[in-house]
Amino acid sequence: MGISLLTFCYLVASVTFILGLKMLSDPASARKGNLIAAGGMVIAIIGTIFLYEDNGENLHNYGWIFGGIIIGALAGAFAARKVKMTAMPEMVSLFNGMGGACAALISTSEFHRIGLTTSPAWDVNSMEDGGGSRLLVILLGLIIGSVSFAGSMIAWGKLNGRIRDFTFRGQHLFNIILLLVAISLAGYLLASLSATNFYLFYVVLALALIYGALFVFPIGGADMPVVISLLNSFTGVAAACGGFLYANKAMLTGGILVGAAGTLLTILMCKAMNRSLANVLLGSFGGSPQAATASKDQGSYKEISITDAAMVMAYAHKVMIVPGYGLAVAQAQHACHELEKLLVEKGVEVKYAIHPVAGRMPGHMNVLLAEADVSYDNLLEMDKANEEFPTTDVVLVLGANDVVNPAAKKDPSSPIYGMPILEVELAKSCIVNKRSMKPGYAGIENDLFFQPKTSMLFGDAKKVLQDLIAEIKSL
């Protein structure tokens, strides 16, 4: 009775995962979808705790289980509530890493069980039926989970600025060799696990961790969302390995579903940047020093004062705001909305041009501006915005850089060549707010800043917006 009820629980959970993911891909039902999937997860967890039977025996160690769940749940809920909107991508990466680590720990623990249950210890030939395929999924879960964990931690550190890009000559080759060694060792264990070589399991674990870290290290910060999405699907596959291990269908459906959807999502993200996944993973342009030094002397740029900028915008017909990561860092979305309202009162038409990969994650800007109550109708997607730039008087670029870099259209040698951009240079004039002349995340110079139509307005986005608001009010 218990076991069949549990099967039903897992069935319900699997359906909610599919339904949840489906609903998450439509704005109208997304929030409900998330809650439905969460509900299914609760059913699966409670069902497992109370109904799971192993050889007719219920689970024990309830104290440890509930203790662990309570600690993890409180810490997770606290961190998720406290995190600023700008730090969301890091948070997702961190949680993803936790899932990967969880899968690796499960594999480690199950591996120990092999040592305990075989006699003589660690003899692969004396393992019960299906021992070989058990060991296979244990090793797969270990490698994928560890890579996902280490990679996610590095991605997390990079996004919050704790870790810098790190490359060395021949790194890609070294990484590939590292991975091959780890896989060969795993294959060797699979064929001939014994009491004398079981320690190699920990070597595989260490190699997988190092590989995960080195795999993410050279990838530029601007590409982190793609990497996180990819690692997300890795963790899904690691969870599915657990599903194989325990013949658990909820883990299997959830894991594979995320693995497949995550892979597609990764590809969609790459498409939004007009790049291939291989290019993102191997290109590693964020850290390449040549890109920065190769830029030719581009002449001088001109600055504009707050007063002049306020004047130009207040008397324009149409102003287009291009938000970027700088806006997110400065938490300037509310000030931005205030400026918009003020300009609208003055009879100026104000729109936002949203590049699909502006910020650190696709959709980042939409979420941020929605938080500040900016109306959805005023957010223009890239194609629509590009149609409107020729009739725009002033473009205000707030902390965006690579997504407005004309080199992506004109300079085939540029690392971002081919990426669709917001063609702000089509507008009559352009005011660029940045903190300094430092290149953006792609590490390349931006011709836009040196064009005669462009004027620079240096400073923190929030501070500049507040000054602009004060100035326009006093006009």
């Binding site: 949840g20 993911l21 489906k22 998450l24 891909s25 439509d26 704005p27 109208a28 997304a30 929030r31 999937a37 969460a38 997860m41 192993d54 219920n58 689970l59 024990h60 160690n61 440890w64 662990g68 600690i71 993890g72 997770g76 998720a80 509530r81 969301m88 948070m91 949680f95 936790m98 969880c102 720990l105 623990s109 199950e110 120990h112 069980r113 969870a239 657990g242 599903g243 325990y246 658990n248 299997l252 959830g254 894991g255 594979i256 579903l257 693995g259 497949a260 959807a261 892979t263 597609l264 999502l265 993200m269 994650m361 696709p362 959709g363 939409n366 979420v367 109550d373 109306s375 109708d377």
Partner: protein, 107 residues
Amino acid sequence: MDSVLNWISTNQQMIYIVILMIFLGIEVIGRVPSVLHTPLMSGANAIHGVVIIGAIIVMGKAESNNYTALILGFFAVVLGALNVVGGFVVTDRMLEMFKKKKQKNGN
């Protein structure tokens, strides 16, 4: 060759699930607008937190004097719970903002 075929026939249910889920996963999010990429990634992140079930099983099967298993299992449960709860809460927070905007449009 025999062992491979054997393996397929013993695990055929699981293999069917894997294949169908791959197609379903791709189909289900195929038409997602780019606005929802971030919340969708976050939601998917929470769903793979289902790995916590494995952690609970590991923990629950551990003999109470096997400290290695207990400690490994305990950490796995903590991390899994972090992934699940944190994942769903973060996703909900992101989507909350979309909802606020919608109500405003309705007015």
